[in-house]
Symmetry: C2
Subunit: 576 residues, 2 copies
């Protein structure tokens, strides 16, 4: 049976099941969400109004046995950036949607009154809209627990916490993982879009269906090669051992760890929050240093972090979150950071955006740099409670800057710049500036080549080659984000000649087609251009492809470098 698109109209509270149009059949994940959003959403519409649509799609290889193919994409016009947006995460949902024969869920319209909340349940028979009362006002942990007891442990869950209900511009869409913990589609406030549709969660029924594979033998063979490339890769191995947080010491050493609201590139407390310290703490407290966020992941960069009493505190404890609360806010206490991480998962709010927002609030003297306890109190008593201050923080770093008249506000297209300073690691600055989605390291992760020596070497402190590097990575990433693959396959893909051909072979074996590597590049280019055109139609211009002026004026220690790309150089990015 061919995959279907499930369309949910929240104005009429009706659903339809549609065949996948010819032009979308070759798309999955980000390529699918971006193409549907570009085709169906008026670019100038209000992101929280009835004309925006939330599109949820598994990747092209999701649901298969392909290693690391469990990413799910959510797409819409972003309430944070105003651009097109795709945010993806692990968890169980991608594989479950694929096995249920769901190419994408499109949620459109919005209820005519604010009185009622709803949930969606997707199973073999179709999708239903149901009124939800019990879980309104509840966090993601309660949703996962309640859905398990209401429908069954094995149901998948896609949900929003209180932040999404409050339509905060940094709200996540959260995805249940195999251990009933959470992964987050964190960037761009897509949880607020789901909140505007008044949908608290989507439950996915388990099924015995299998995803059809056109050439199972070829698929298995290719997957074997692909998996070996992943597990043999030294960066994959480091990610497995220390998690993404292995980067704290590496980026600090490179002088590119944004510290104290982007006023230094090194953090005195880096050892206290490093991946190595975290690993030892986890082991000592009998947590799990290695953990997979979705079935079939062979890298296992997630982990279970326990508190001092050896009780579960958080999982998926990422470098980005730890950097943001740690170096950027000068909190050198992993337990405070874990506490905040857990709270943010539960209320469903982006740990990057929210923590960078706190850093700006610290600069505004709302709280003091380094005060992890107050950071946690504000999350609980202000953000979760929806107070004025909580709303300012929950609306992101740009919002804090505007509310308090701060000029050192690290955002591009109103989205917080993540954990790599663009002055000291210039390639990532190109990605921040030009990405179709606002500042986002995952859109073109030049750290690989600028710092980790993957895919060649490009000096992070020189301007040379950075535009090309970012462009090539942004194109490749758009394609990878369409497959359902985790972005961390990129390390092997860049350094192991067998990896990418094996991925293409899997796509061909899955669908019975004959893609080449060039076709995959063409797919990436086409996705980027579709996204860029949406943004132009929404009113964005090259003036939006810029870093904030302070990066060009304030040298950052230890290299004492500024951001020195000209506007003309930045504008060459789109010359392709």
């Amino acid at each position: 049976m061919a995959d279907k698109i499930y369309r949910v109209n929240m104005t009429t509270l009706t659903t339809t099941v549609e065949d996948v149009p010819e032009n979308l059949q070759g798309h999955g994940g980000r390529g699918l969400t971006s193409n549907i959003v570009a085709a169906e959403v008026e670019p100038t519409c209000h992101p929280l109004g009835s004309h925006n649509k939330l599109v949820i799609a598994p990747g092209l290889l999701s649901g298969t046995t392909a290693a690391n193919s469990g990413r799910i994409s959510c797409g819409a016009k972003s309430p944070l950036t105003g651009t097109i947006k795709e945010s993806n995460a692990g968890g169980t949902a991608a594989a479950m949607l694929a096995k249920l024969g769901c190419k994408a869920i499109i949620i459109e319209g919005m209820p005519s009154t604010k009185d009622n909340w709803y949930n969606l349940v997707l199973n073999d028979k179709g999708i239903t809209i149901n009124e939800e009362t019990e879980l309104v006002g509840k966090g993601n942990f309660a949703i996962v627990e309640t859905v398990a007891s209401r429908l069954g442990e094995k149901f998948g869950v896609i949900s929003i916490g209180q932040a999404g209900e409050m339509k905060m511009a940094s709200a996540n869409i959260s995805i249940k993982d195999p251990d009933s913990h959470l992964r987050s589609c964190g960037r761009g406030g897509l949880g607020a879009v789901m909140g505007s549709k008044q949908i608290k969660f989507i439950a996915l029924a388990p099924t015995d269906n299998k995803v059809a594979i056109a050439d199972p033998e070829a698929f298995t063979a290719a997957n074997r090669v692909f998996t070996k490339a992943l597990v043999d890769n030294p960066i994959s191995q480091a990610l497995g051992q220390y998690g993404t947080n292995v980067l704290v010491n590496i980026i600090n050493e490179a002088g590119g760890l944004p510290t104290r609201n982007f006023t230094s590139g090194q953090f005195d407390g880096h050892e206290e929050i490093s991946g190595e310290t975290m690993h030892d703490t986890i082991v000592e407290r009998e947590g799990k240093p290695k953990h997979n966020c979705h079935k079939g992941c062979v890298i296992q960069c997630s982990q279970i972090y326990n508190d001092m009493n050896k009780k579960y505190k958080t999982s998926g404890f990422e470098y980005e979150s730890i950097w943001a609360m740690g170096a950027d806010c000068c909190v050198d206490n992993l337990d405070h950071i874990a506490e905040a991480d857990s709270m943010m998962d539960d209320m469903g709010i982006d740990s990057i955006e929210t923590s960078v927002a706190m850093g700006v609030a610290m600069e505004a003297e709302v709280l003091e740099f380094g005060d992890g306890a107050e950071f946690c109190r504000i999350l609980k008593d202000e953000v979760l409670a929806g107070t004025g201050l909580g709303r300012i923080i929950g609306s992101g770093a740009g919002s804090v800057g505007r509310a308090y008249g701060v000029t050192r506000v690290p955002v591009v297209k109103n989205q917080a710049i993540p954990a790599y300073d663009p002055r000291a690691i210039k390639g990532i600055g190109i990605t921040y500036a030009t990405s179709t989605q606002g500042a986002d390291h995952t859109m073109g992760y030049t750290i690989a080549t600028n710092i980790l020596g993957v895919g060649g070497t490009v000096d992070p402190l020189s301007k040379e080659g950075q535009v090309e590097l970012s462009r090539n990575l942004q194109i490749a990433t758009a394609a990878i984000d369409s497959t359902g693959m985790c972005l961390f396959i990129a390390f092997a893909a860049l350094d192991d000649a067998t990896c990418l051909p094996a991925l293409v072979d899997m796509l061909n074996a899955r669908f019975g087609i004959g893609l080449t590597a060039d076709d995959v590049t063409a797919l990436g280019i086409s996705i980027l251009k579709t996204e860029h055109e949406f943004n132009l139609a929404a009113g964005f211009t090259n003036k939006d492809d810029r870093l904030p002026e302070f990066f060009s004026e304030e040298p950052i220690a230890p290299h004492n470098v500024i951001w020195d790309f000209t506007d003309e150089e930045l504008d060459t990015f789109w010359d392709f």
Copy 2:
């Protein structure tokens, strides 16, 4: 002695006196501020950073005996809209600056630390920068009083209250009037720009100097004709009797009085807040129904409004403020409105932006529609105190919408739409959408022709002729805003054939030149285009020349009309 430009550099804390360059000599008021901002300010700069400049200029006729020539213009890149911005007001400053031989003050740079505040004193000898401690944290009333006791009653004052110190995006620049009350350059948050320069006030010394007139006899003759045209005009007379608030009943009758956050065009409580009721209350409480905000005003639309104990409460009690707190927030109690008006004057915050923001907050259920006491409490305990909620409100209506996820947010280019619903009075919608400065009725006051029958008749409910009407008025307004004239001369100018020629004659007699009416039109066109080009260079596009989508979707009572201009029709505005 030829007029000079006084340049104040707040980075180096130095001042220079400069000759007026040839190309700026024919400019005054808005034409001068906009040309200087366009020439000297990087359009993409942060409005609260060191690259923005605050320009303060009297009009071309300010300081002369010309009737109604006492408007002062402040210009900069706006922190509220991101566009170029000019905001003008009455008071004593324009005439004083002109008599001191000051063509403009340009304030640039910013102090390197946040520790110190400053004041500027301009007198016959030049301009000085002085450290200010006593008045930091104080409101405008205290500043006016303190400057009087410190320097003398007759000093002029240009100041910011606490809102400007907090760099709130709705902060005013306040101007002392002849009775030591206040007038406000209210729109666009220019007070925040002054706050970013850490200047609390500018004091202007009285002088016996007179403005040079090239042909005094011709000037006096022209002024006599001009003045007669003003005083004979029936709308001038109505403005004198009831103030601008004469409009409440007129606009309510027309069905264009935005009510309950723009969900109706008529307000049940209109009688309670009308100009007629206000007039009777003022008389009963021994206030002044007529009052001039600057010397030489023959219209006298200002008034002194006393409280129940016949003690002074507020002055310059405008229709826009009364509508915004009244109909838009459903507060039908003039005393609550007067109390709020006085507080907003003192803290120095735009009464339109702030009140429309409160209306959006009411929709978000932060407070209830109609609760004037809570409105006042929030102003005092939240906005003035700089709490989270206060910062949200103080950042304007768009800010409230973003913080609370409200979609019915009446702003264009992030500036609140004022007191005329664009669905029921379509010409003003063209002005809101296309103005170079965000939604602003004063930029092209089509109400004159749509409602008041001045300058012909254009049916407010029909699309026909509205673009041309708005364009012609926007061009004329840009020119009038350069003369130092109050915009209310427009009623006479549109209906009395002697008025405009007399104004041109005064300009010619003042400078010994030979302008024609066509030259004045050309001046207006050139100003608009200069402003528009600045905005395009700042990243604005035609997508920003739009009204919020709810206007196209929600019919408004009593006419049940929507905003029905197409994008293409709106874009024809700039075809000139």
